[in-house]
Symmetry: C2
Subunit: 239 residues, 2 copies
Amino acid sequence: MNGPQPRIPVLTTRLSGDADEGGRLDAVLSAEDLRRLEGIASVLELPARNRLIYDQGQAAEALYFIQRGMVATSVHDGDGSRQILGFLRSGDLFGLAEQGRYISAARTLTPARLFCLPLAPLQKLLLTDARLQLHFLTKAAHDLRMAQRQMIVLGRHSVHRRLAAFLLEFLRHDDIYDAAEQRIRLPMSRTDMADYLATTPESVARAFAAMEREGWIRRYGPKSIQVLDLPALIHAASV
Amino acid sequence: MNGPQPRIPVLTTRLSGDADEGGRLDAVLSAEDLRRLEGIASVLELPARNRLIYDQGQAAEALYFIQRGMVATSVHDGDGSRQILGFLRSGDLFGLAEQGRYISAARTLTPARLFCLPLAPLQKLLLTDARLQLHFLTKAAHDLRMAQRQMIVLGRHSVHRRLAAFLLEFLRHDDIYDAAEQRIRLPMSRTDMADYLATTPESVARAFAAMEREGWIRRYGPKSIQVLDLPALIHAASV
DNA sequence: CGCCTAGTTGAAGTGTGTCAATGTCTGTGG
DNA sequence: CCACAGACATTGACACACTTCAACTAGGCG
């Protein structure tokens, strides 16, 4: 008798990725799972944007779980160049480290609420709760797929195509995309977008200008984009 | 009393990545772990190079574990373009899927021996053995780091730098690098290298020619490279 | 209202893809 | 063992997308 087993993960669908779940860890965690995580977590309230959560090279002591808000992780090269590894949202995990040090820096894009999960207690919990751990494994597999997809995007696609794909990613998220007005509210700067898409702010601006010229979008200031021709945008992202 | 606990993973070092382990799953698995995996695995002997293991889009039924040999995973775009996601070696896992279908194709670069781990029994095993699962989670975290590093390489570095870094990766592996002769035996074609580095065979050839012109390497046929100036190569990979 | 940061647009330079031709391996069959 | 064929690798010429540098404009916050 195991009692009720809410949302038992199935590796064939979980490791394989489930469409409706979208890689959100919080969507698959049961109330019991969350309670256990909260038991070892400390809550981190970051009331403003552009707050550093941890820096690259800093001793890694915790994994972070986003409850609310948006976070960007970035690695800084020896020279000035910076690569944003990902824009993360509620349900995402971050805090990947190598040899005890964070490989990237993390900072808020918006006010955010995080669970800070210290590594030692987290490991203990995962070892005692294999079902919970499988959710973490599934999430890691999902993030690996995303990273591999981004490898392809950065290596093979033009800047225009990268930007089109980037915009389309936001359409799924209600907090950023207002479906009624067809408007995307971008929470990051042109420089951030450029550092994520491995290009320059100038090229991003030019790509936006070209999209507006074609009638696919309309800009209301740099942070607000109205989608006028979604099919064209989808086409641009896949050609 | 838990009895002997060989090589208990410590998340703070394992999820964080351990230098000497190098992400090799087989290096951290105990004899008991291996026995259990073998219990659900079928062994796959692939006697020659260029053998397809599974194709992109095929129904995903198993995860694969490389015991011997080398494997390449690649995704094929609608048009002719191909991206090799990774060159994999003993101890590596592959078979990542999305919605029940493999997202990449996998084929041998050399004769290989694989464990084929059917997903359902594997999930069952991981749920009953949290310690073993943690090794898988650690491996996934390692692969995620590698993918993120490759994102940076493909997005930010020149073809010359990419190739230098690529060559340096082989120096650690005894089966490919003959330290005495300082020779690297490349098991893949120029096209494969180009598809991994997100460039063209022509650009790879030009980068090799430039390195030879500089006196850093010497080519003995396309598959055998002698390293003449390692510091210069290291410098080229990090500038 | 004015300063300062961020964004946009323009012009010029360059790395790399593309196309084409030549050269070189490899493996097969005579 | 050699000769041949087909694939693979290399080199060259050219085109172009993108970066870089610079000037200008627009937003946002004091």
